[in-house]
């Protein structure tokens, strides 16, 4: 029974005690804090030298503690009458003087007590404080826990690792069920964390929904097993204040370098690895790798540039035509966002949209795109539609419907000429809100198309359940080689179903005459792609329309 890695399982019973005169012993002696670890049965499993110097060398054997559990720290049993428990927050030394002790739950069945000596408190050190909500060590206890790990490490070759654990979708719990439920969830998460790690591992709540685990003596594979276990147990449903709650966890892992004696760099590496996990779809763990800091720096620069891009007028829209087979005419254009950075040149939307979504900048950019697109469409013949892509983040944000209506009102564009392209990620948000917002937009006359169909879950049920007016079949299906029969069967099925339900079915990314004749044969009602036009600038739209008309609306390579 030991804790804080004062010993590891394979060590002998006394190896936890630093050897006086050794570098480790000197380090423990210089620590201004007395540390004692007591398991739930009341047995002292470790005491550092400072503790022995205050309470006597035999203190670990002399002091008796009552039973404890996850809610009640161990109470000292007095010498005179071992059956009467003393206060849990005071310990008597050899001379009978009382010392305040702060207990912190540091494992599934143990508590770590810290006593700060008057006059010996260093400005860098505080006692191991625990987080009032979860009972785990708090952020300020990290350096003590880390120092204890280093002190007790048998040799430099025993690895020390850190895991940063961050909850996924925690904010949503706070927002929908309130902070009391959020707090209760954090308590439950803490208990699951503590029971998912070894006794020698230290779990610390860094604040909010972030936790750190310090591990000593584990192999890489063992740390990965632990990370996978934590991800598994935190993904299991919780019942919090009468509600079912499902969250998840992302984890960043890093190992202490041989010469490091400070936890801050280790934590920074674990943190940047966590960042990678969060960007790789969450619910996974990642090890720190060289190059992550450089990638992060580059991203920060891009993020900063993105914030300035609107002000610097670096965005512009390009327009790609959509061709309808029934009317044999251009029916409208899709607005595509371009970022022309002064030094970087054209930045691909695939690179900057995810960042904009994460930073929330997409809300401003999206509103600009809507206004700009509506305004541009006002200069076209009034039979032409304008299709605008909407990010899921934008759709979910409060006031989205209002921002669409504002763009329409400011430009004077008839709502029936605006089509919003939604990806199915939008549909994965809370259903009630999705249906409500889509209904409000349809009621205002705005059209809705389901974008990139075929790339995700692509349930055909979406077509029935939500009020889409158009479905856009993803270009990967259109460009699938002729031999890929399944891809073509899917196009035929979606086209048949969509048309039967009164929707327009448009094929994206049509580049060749062969593809065009195939999708017509498969039943698509419209097409978009380089075969008809590359995305063009606003000022070229009228000339393009005239040229298309002159050629009898036959698609041409531009």
């Amino acid at each position: 029974m030991k804790h804080l890695t004062l010993r590891s399982d394979r060590d002998g019973p006394n190896s936890g005690h630093p050897i006086p005169g050794s570098p480790q012993g000197a380090c423990a002696l210089s620590a201004p804090v007395a540390l004692v670890v007591v398991d739930d049965s009341g047995t002292v499993t470790f005491a550092n030298d400072v503790f022995r110097s205050i309470f006597g060398p035999d203190a670990p054997d002399r002091l008796r503690f009552g039973q404890s559990d996850s809610h009640h720290p161990p109470a000292a049993l007095t010498n005179e009458n071992a059956s009467a428990p003393g206060a849990a927050d005071r310990l008597a030394d050899d001379a009978g003087a009382m010392h305040a002790v702060t207990w912190c739950r540091t494992g599934p069945d143990c508590w770590t007590g810290t006593v700060v000596l008057p006059g010996r408190k260093s400005p860098h050190e505080t006692s191991m404080r625990h987080d009032a909500l979860t009972g785990l060590g708090d952020r300020s206890s990290l350096s003590i826990a880390f120092q204890t790990l280093l002190d007790q490490r048998g040799g430099a070759d025993i690895p020390v690792m850190a895991a940063c654990v961050d909850l996924d979708r925690f904010k949503r719990v706070n927002d929908t069920l309130g902070h009391l439920a959020g707090d209760e969830l954090l308590r439950k998460v803490s208990r699951r964390l503590v029971s998912s790690v070894r006794r020698s591992d230290v779990v610390i709540r860094m604040g909010g929904d972030e936790f750190t685990i310090l591990l000593e003596g584990s192999t890489q594979a063992e740390v990965e097993d632990m990370a996978a276990r934590i991800i598994d147990v935190l993904a299991r449903p919780f019942v919090v204040m009468g509600h079912q709650v499902i969250i998840g966890a992302s984890i960043g892992l890093a190992a202490l370098l041989p010469a490091e004696t400070d936890p801050s760099e280790l934590m920074r590496r674990a943190d940047v690895a966590l960042y990678k996990s969060k960007n790789s779809g969450r619910g996974c763990f990642s090890w720190f790798e060289d190059g992550m800091f450089a990638a992060l720096d580059e991203r920060r620069l891009l993020e900063a540039d993105l914030r300035k891009a609107l002000l610097l007028d670096e965005f512009e829209l390009a327009f790609q035509s959509q061709f309808d087979f029934h009317t044999n005419s251009i029916t409208g254009f899709e607005a595509l966002l371009r970022w022309k950075h002064r030094d970087r040149g054209i930045v691909s939307p695939a690179d900057f949209i995810p960042i904009a979504e994460e930073t929330g900048e997409i809300l401003k950019i999206g509103a600009w795109v809507l206004r700009q697109a509506c305004q541009t469409a006002m200069s076209w013949p009034d039979t032409l539609m304008i299709a605008v892509n909407v990010s899921p983040v934008q759709f979910e944000a409060d006031g989205f419907v209002e921002s669409v209506l504002t763009a329409l009102a400011l430009s004077g564009l008839a709502p029936c000429r605006l089509e919003l392209e939604l990806t199915e990620t939008v549909l994965l948000s809370e259903d009630k809100i999705v249906i409500e917002r889509m209904g409000a937009l349809r009621a205002a006359g705005v059209k809705l198309s389901l974008d990139d169909f075929g790339t995700g879950y692509s349930s055909l049920n979406y077509l029935r359940k939500y009020p889409f007016t158009k479905v856009k079949i993803d270009q990967s299906f259109i460009r699938a080689p002729a031999a890929d029969e399944n891809a073509h069967r899917i196009v035929t099925a979606v086209a048949g179903l969509g048309i039967a339900m009164g929707m327009s079915v448009i094929a994206e990314g049509v580049e060749t005459e062969d593809q065009l004749s195939r999708i017509r044969f498969q039943g698509c009602s419209a097409a978009q792609g380089y075969l008809f036009s590359r995305p063009i600038r606003d000022r070229d739209v009228m000339a393009y329309l005239q040229a298309a008309k002159a050629s009898g609306f036959h698609p041409q390579d531009s």
Binding site: V239, M241, G242
Partner: protein
């Protein structure tokens, strides 16, 4: 304190048995789980019932919300239960299993109540809804109770 003053909730879930172990061993392990949960539940004022067929447990827990949530947490972290699917969490005004710290209906009980065909190997608890599990257990436990009283 009576149930009237408490915040009662009921949860229904099913879980799959972890490993395929020999029947006798499972029987023993199963009895042990049942005993421990009866002791814990009686202490925590939690009542409920459990059914088992073909490697799947269906379970109802009811009681003061804090106690039920703690019990559920304990089960979630128990390595013997994995793949837990929570079917229903709802506030209730009264208990359906008062008097049962953990009622149990095994394969035999299901066979008797459902008839040989339904209780055959293909009766799959995991296909039932939360309401189905609750209703099935509730009627079986009531019948059982009556049988005990008559005897």
């Amino acid at each position: 304190m009576t149930d009237h003053h408490m915040n009662l909730i009921r949860i229904v879930y099913f879980s799959r048995n972890v490993a395929a172990v020999p029947d006798a061993e499972m029987r023993h392990e199963f009895d042990r789980i049942l005993n421990v949960s009866r002791i814990n539940n009686a202490r925590d004022d939690v009542t409920g019932a459990l059914m088992f067929n073909n490697g799947v447990f269906g379970q109802v827990l009811e009681g003061p919300s804090v106690a039920v949530e703690d019990t559920f947490e304990r089960i979630q972290m128990d390595d013997r239960h994995n793949d837990i699917t929570l079917l229903d969490v709802s506030p209730v005004t009264e208990r359906g299993f008062s008097g049962w710290s953990m009622g149990f209906v095994g394969e035999k009980g299901l066979k008797i109540s459902l008839g040989e065909t339904a209780a055959a190997r293909d009766f799959d608890i995991s296909l039932l809804s939360g309401q189905d599990i609750y209703r099935t257990l509730h009627s079986l436990m009531l019948r059982n109770e009556r049988a005990v009283r008559v005897a």
